[in-house]
């Protein structure tokens, strides 16, 4: 059984007051997320990430298509018992304290008073706001609210959590804590589905990703298979390079670029056509010493930019019998 499965999930909005025309927020999203995975849901702002999460939480209803969580239709109360959700830029009740808010949410799961207190106390410490537990939420900063939001999402020790931009509003230290938290959740066997436009997060955390642009899925799969880990060239770093040796390798056209780092210290970029061992041996023969030799691969960012650039920009509905509703 998959943790999350969507089939041709589609959401159209009508925009404009007078001559309202459909706006494609999400078109035909088909996705599987396996249990225990950390799944990154990537895309630029406005790509349809939040729309997808809202559809999975049944905050909005799809125009067409289906979605299931843990093998049951979304919106099912039994499903809601086993999931957690962090909305984008979460906001809660002004006049409650962090502790009261979590107690309230815990009561909705039917936890008894003692159990509620135990969970809330450990959670507040886990997300790092234990000291502010008695503070009313209207005095919380954005980053603190984000932590409260994360705490309420994992209150019920969920099997699947949905984080919408979990890193937003956090400082570098906070981001690191959240990364560690996500890994801890994964180690507990919890499936983590998170959306982000920050790629480095996804690169360090995810086993698989999906990339969304213009409301349409442009790519999905394992990071390694998506990026293909293609070697695009080499980066060779040498020290003790004499001017004569430098002239030798650059003149031959074997080096695409040579960047000096210090006296006799250079980084060479070699195209794929140049065997690095030949350049290396030429340079060592002239007294240079090897510091490092690294293959140059496509980064997720390169890939992302390429995919998004190729995605269609038109968000209107193609007029071809597709029905627009809701």
């Amino acid at each position: 059984m998959d943790a999350i499965r969507t089939e041709a999930l589609t959401k159209h909005y009508r925009v404009g007051f007078w001559r309202s025309r459909p706006y494609v927020a999400l078109e035909g999203l088909t996705l599987d997320v396996r249990r225990g995975e950390v799944f990154g849901f990537l895309g630029p702002n406005g790509a349809g990430k939040t729309t997808t999460l809202k559809l999975l939480m049944q905050l909005i209803y799809p125009t067409s298509g289906r979605a299931e969580i843990l093998g049951r239709p979304v919106g099912d109360v039994e499903v809601k018992r086993r999931i957690g959700y962090l909305p984008e830029n979460p906001y809660f009740y002004d006049y409650l304290t962090a502790e009261e808010l979590l107690e309230y949410f815990a009561s909705l799961f039917g936890f008894q008073a003692a159990e509620r207190r135990r969970r809330v106390a450990t959670l507040l410490d886990e997300v790092g706001i234990g000291a502010e537990r008695r503070l009313q939420l209207r005095k919380f900063s954005k980053g603190m609210l984000q932590r409260v939001g994360i705490a309420q999402a994992i209150l019920n020790e969920p099997d699947v959590v949905f984080f919408d931009e979990p890193m937003s509003g956090l400082d570098p230290l906070g981001r690191r804590e959240i990364r560690q938290l996500i890994l801890r959740l994964r180690d507990r066997g919890c499936t983590v589905f998170f959306s982000s436009h920050v790629l480095s997060d996804a690169e360090t955390l995810c086993s698989r990703v999906a990339i969304l642009a213009g409301g349409r899925l442009v790519a999905s799969g394992h990071l390694s298979s998506l990026l293909a880990f293609q070697v695009q060239g080499w980066e060779l770093v040498m020290t003790g390079v004499s001017a004569e040796a430098l002239e030798q390798v650059t003149r031959a056209g074997q080096v695409a670029r040579a960047t000096p780092f210090g006296v006799g210290h250079y980084a060479f970029e070699l195209p794929l056509t140049t065997p690095p061992d030949r350049v290396l041996s030429e340079l060592t023969a002239r007294g240079a010493r090897l510091v490092s030799l690294m293959p140059v691969r496509e980064t997720l960012e390169d890939y992302f930019v390429r995919q998004v650039a190729e995605a269609p920009r038109d968000r209107g509905l193609q007029v071809s019998g597709t029905h627009a509703g809701r």
């Binding site: 979460p90 809660f92 009740y93 909705l108």
Partner: protein, 268 residues
């Protein structure tokens, strides 16, 4: 059901911490207390005026609380998106609406209770100040417990108003909701005029329309027995009962409609 009560308690907790509520209740209590002074200004009639003012203050401030807190709480929940995390909990949408309503009703009950207590405090004090020979000729005792009948109907009326406010706030903006709720409240009080409409207009279409509206629109005039209790006139128990049942059925209708609309709503 447990979920509904938890949501209701949270509404209550949140609303009693809201400054708007504090100021409204404080002002009402002040006015009821101040009615003692106003009573001093007018010759005779002071007890009647204090009763009139006290009951009017309870009804009016109750109305403001019902409308503004009722609309504010639901609208804030949606507008500030706290509903996103709430609805991802094991909460069905109709439980959300019913819980909100129960919480608002609880808030209203406590507030009307506070205002009533202040009202009777003034009256009890006044009773000690009124000489025996004057008390003997009054149409009703000074601290007349019979006035609780009027207050009970005010409370039912406010509960209907809250349901109207909640209904409108499930689909329209707060400003519009306030306007619509207040409008319906006003029309509901002019209900008796709709009843006599055919005596005043010539067009049969207008008369039929007025008749139809008379049956469908909330009849708030029926909840108003303030004059009767102040003058010590009879208010039959059967009248209280049918009016209260009428209120309850109207609330049921409004909440069902609110739930149906809310269940289909997209939270963009």
């Amino acid at each position: 059901m447990q979920v509904v009560s938890h949501i209701a308690l949270n509404v209550f907790k949140e609303s009693v911490r809201d400054r708007v509520l504090y100021s409204l209740v404080a002002f009402a209590v002040l006015l009821i207390g101040g009615s003692y002074l106003i009573g001093q200004l007018t010759a005779g009639q002071d007890i009647k005026i204090i009763k009139d003012l006290g009951l009017a203050a309870i009804a009016t401030f109750g109305l403001l609380i019902a409308v503004f807190i009722g609309i504010g709480l639901v609208w804030k929940e949606v507008e500030r998106r706290s509903i996103y995390s709430l609805l991802s909990k094991p909460v069905r949408r109709h439980e959300f609406i019913l819980g909100k309503y129960a919480g608002l009703a609880l808030t209203l009950l406590v507030n009307v209770g506070m205002m009533t207590a202040a009202f009777y405090l003034v009256l009890v004090y006044l009773n000690t100040q009124t000489p025996e020979n004057i008390r003997a000729v009054l149409p009703a005792p000074v601290a007349d417990p019979g006035m609780l009948r009027a207050i009970a109907l005010i409370l039912v009326e406010l509960l209907v108003v809250t349901a109207i406010a909640l209904f409108f706030s499930t689909f329209s903006s707060p400003f519009l909701s306030v306007a619509l709720t207040m409008g319906l409240w006003l029309i509901g009080h002019f209900n008796a005029d709709l009843r006599n409409f055919e005596a005043v207009v010539e067009s049969p279409v207008a008369a039929y329309l007025a008749r139809g509206l008379y049956y469908v629109l909330p009849n708030f005039a029926a909840f108003n027995v303030k004059t009767q209790v102040v003058y010590g006139l009879p208010v039959p128990g059967s009248y209280l009962l049918t009016t209260a049942v009428y209120g309850a059925v109207y609330i049921g209708l409004l909440l069902t409609a609110a739930v149906v609309i809310f269940a289909r709503r997209d939270f963009k």
